[in-house]
Amino acid sequence: MSETTHPSVPATTSAPSEHAVSLTLNQVVQDYPAPGGGVTRVIGGVDLNFERPGINMLLGPSGSGKSTLLNMMGGVRPLNVKTPTSGTISIDGQPCHGPHDDAVMVFQRYANRPDLSVYDNIAFPFRFKLWRERVPEKEWRARVEHMLDAVGLADKKALHPAQLSGGQNQRVALARALVLQPRILLMDEPFGALDAQTREEMQHLLIKLYRERPCLIVFVTHDVTEALMLGDRVVVLSTQPANVADDFTIHAPRPRSLDWQRSPEAVELSERILEKLHRVSPGKGSLRVTV
């Protein structure tokens, strides 16, 4: 019942945004009990190291266990899953168990509160003792106002989620995460449920926000195009069990144009990804390529 160990973090709230941060996965394995006895290995010994601010894409077919991996990094464990079965996840060299406040998650199903205004939804974390003690009211109010501007919802701050579109709701969720100025931002297919045009808008917004205040982003997607458009680094995961099938960096500046998408570099990367996945786990799960 007592899993409330939030590792003590220095109380400085205005840490430099370039603050060194590292997120390390060491031989992470996750087994689920399989129906009818035995175990299913969902994640099979993943080694990953993220060392500096950057947008890191975790690309894998649907059902590949990439969300499970992300949840483990966030220390979130729904459905009573023990994470991980073996191996360690550490932040700045410190192994983490259970929830921790170094990383904030953005879910595909934005958990916006229907009874609260846009403003109160973004200010939601400051209802909790942890953040109230860490950030004085005057500062968090200023941060919320700033985030409202940054995500373009300043004129909608009194509205409620039901009065917003899906994209606007996801902006609220993004603002609520970034208002905490996290060093690590974990995004679980955040734009997966949006239409193509809105998704592109959101990708541009993310790039803008990232520039304003870089942090270590781990972004899960099954959309090859999205991975190539956003990533400084793309980690390709195989499926069942998830393993690192490929891992490369992209140096092209963001935002990346349609022309870049059609450039030999992008086309080659896209084919490389599909080819790798096809070889490692043929016929399992599905990827999306939007061109």
């Binding site: 019942m1 939030h6 220390g75 009874d115 939601f124 003792k129 942890l130 953040w131 039901a162």
Partner: protein
């Protein structure tokens, strides 16, 4: 007529009113005919106009209103029981919903009473609490709370887990998750539970006032029955039905005002 057998097309409000009036009118007409033509005698079925005059008599006679006094007493008992239901039932229900362990411990004590004959508890309550107000309020309380607690528990458990996980990820303690993320989402359904509890209390008010009530709507009906004043019995029953309906509609109204976000979620 193509929309007659179509559950998804609502008639206009005007048509709904007309249809409601039609059915109530038909029953009144049948009732009037049965007693007017003497098909059923006044000792079995008092005529509508007799019930109406009995209502007038109860409402104002000899410079006092028996009906108002009885209503005040009954409503007062219900209020007392209602406050207890809210103060005791809601926290228990929330605790059971929020912690499966508390639920496992308490549900064998609570759930069976939903289908148990609560009325049979009356003699026991009389034995323990005597025949005065404490017994009546306790009876109303038990009758309502055994419905309320499981409904409140279910309301908490029906909140999507995403709210809990989201708050947990933002660094909330488990209690903060319940208090700040889950409970507010469950409030509309908790309000529904309270509305049901009040309706249940209205149905039990006559039973609660069965024993040694000097004044109250249930007592009023009891008393009239003893003297075979069937017109007064009918008037009393109709008053209770109308009061129950009015409280129900009022609570529904306030619920909609308090949780406007629930309807367009």
């Amino acid at each position: 007529m193509s929309e007659f057998w179509n559950p998804y097309v609502q008639p206009s409000p005007r048509m709904r009113r007309q249809l409601a009036l039609l059915s109530v009118g038909a029953v009144l007409l049948l009732w009037s005919a049965l007693s007017g033509f003497g098909v059923v005698g006044p000792n079995r079925l008092p005529a509508p106009w007799d019930v109406l005059s009995a209502f007038g008599y109860l409402f104002w006679h000899n410079g006092e209103s028996m009906l108002a006094e009885a209503t005040l007493w009954s409503v007062g008992r219900m209020l007392a029981a209602g406050v207890l239901v809210v103060l005791i039932g809601i926290p228990i229900g929330v605790a059971m919903g929020a912690s499966p362990r508390i639920n496992a411990a308490l549900s064998p004590l609570v759930d069976p009473f939903r289908s148990a004959p609560v009325v049979a508890l009356l003699p026991i309550l009389v034995m323990w609490l005597g025949i005065d107000e404490a017994m009546k309020i306790a009876f109303l309380f038990i009758g309502a709370v055994v419905y309320l607690i499981p409904m409140v528990r279910d309301a908490i458990q029906a909140v999507p887990q995403s709210h809990w996980i989201g708050a947990r990820d933002l660094g909330a303690t488990p209690w903060e998750c319940i208090r700040q993320a889950v409970l507010p989402m469950a409030m509309p359904r908790i309000a529904d539970a309270l509305i049901v509890a009040v309706s249940v209390m209205w149905t039990y008010i006559t039973v609660a006032e069965y024993v040694n009530a000097r004044v109250g709507l249930g007592q009023l009906i009891q008393n009239a029955r003893r003297f075979s004043a069937w017109d007064q019995v009918f008037a009393g029953i109709i008053v209770i039905i109308v009061l129950a309906l009015v409280t129900y509609q009022l609570m529904r109204y306030f619920k909609a005002r308090l949780f406007p976000w629930e309807t367009h979620q």
